[in-house]
């Protein structure tokens, strides 16, 4: 069975500092991987996705993620965090042939200090 682990429940960074959110997955085949952001009172918004090809993927809002098959990881990064990035971030792995077959991690809450 597939699973997703986000080891950090809560991360605090200073505005302007770099950010890395960790995601580890367990899945037997080539995974489809996603990062979503959820602001308070909002639904999930897709930041980026990896299906195949270049293992470094660029997303919206200046985020990027790197797929490392050997480490079963798909970590999210941003070189300089803005106060508006404070939110909850979810990593997800999708299996099967349809979009509903997704397993989400439990999320990492990001706090940004001024």
């Amino acid at each position: 069975a597939q699973s997703v682990t986000q080891p950090d429940i809560h991360i605090t960074v200073s505005e302007g500092a770099s950010l890395e959110l960790r995601c580890n997955y367990s899945y037997g085949a080539t995974p489809y991987l996603f990062w979503y952001v959820q602001s308070p009172g909002q639904g999930l918004q897709l930041l980026l996705k990896y299906f195949s090809g270049d293992t470094l993927v660029q997303g919206i809002k200046g985020f990027e993620a790197e797929f490392k098959r050997s480490q079963s990881s798909f970590n999210l990064r941003k070189p300089s965090v803005h106060w508006s990035d404070a939110a909850e971030y979810f990593c997800a792995v999708r299996r099967g042939t349809n979009a509903g077959k997704s397993t989400f991690g439990d999320g990492t809450t990001l706090t940004v200090k001024p």
């Binding site: 639904g43 349809n98 979009a99 509903g100 997704s102």
Partner: protein, 115 residues
């Protein structure tokens, strides 16, 4: 382009009462999903529709939860009777056809509190 609409945004009920949530997907999206998001956890799929047919309802507690998508557009999710453990955010999402590479678009959710 209008996003996925959900109502109500908040609902407080007592256990054993019933409650219903409504979702209007993005126009033209054939696939609609209902997720349950318990505090501190990621979303979990409850049911997936393709047009007005059910694709996957394996995680839906069918003794108390029901969902329908008449006419293949709007959908309602009902809980009857509610239990304390049903307190969660219920997210609706839609996508064009449900393919593995498709982007899902999520609504703002309905936050349910069962007392």
């Amino acid at each position: 382009e209008a996003g996925v609409a959900q109502s109500p945004r908040y609902k407080i009920i007592e256990k054993r009462q019933s409650v219903a949530f409504w979702c209007n997907p993005i126009s033209g999206h054939a696939t609609l999903y209902w997720y349950q998001q318990i505090l501190g956890q990621g979303p979990k799929l409850l049911i997936q529709f393709q047009n007005n047919g059910v694709v996957d309802d394996s995680q839906l507690p069918k003794d108390r939860f029901s969902a329908e998508r008449l006419k293949g557009v709007d959908s309602t999710l009902k809980i009857q009777p509610a239990k304390l453990e049903d307190s969660a955010v219920y997210l609706c999402a839609s996508s064009l056809a449900g393919g593995r590479q498709e982007t899902q678009y999520f609504g703002p959710g309905t936050r349910l509190l069962v007392l």
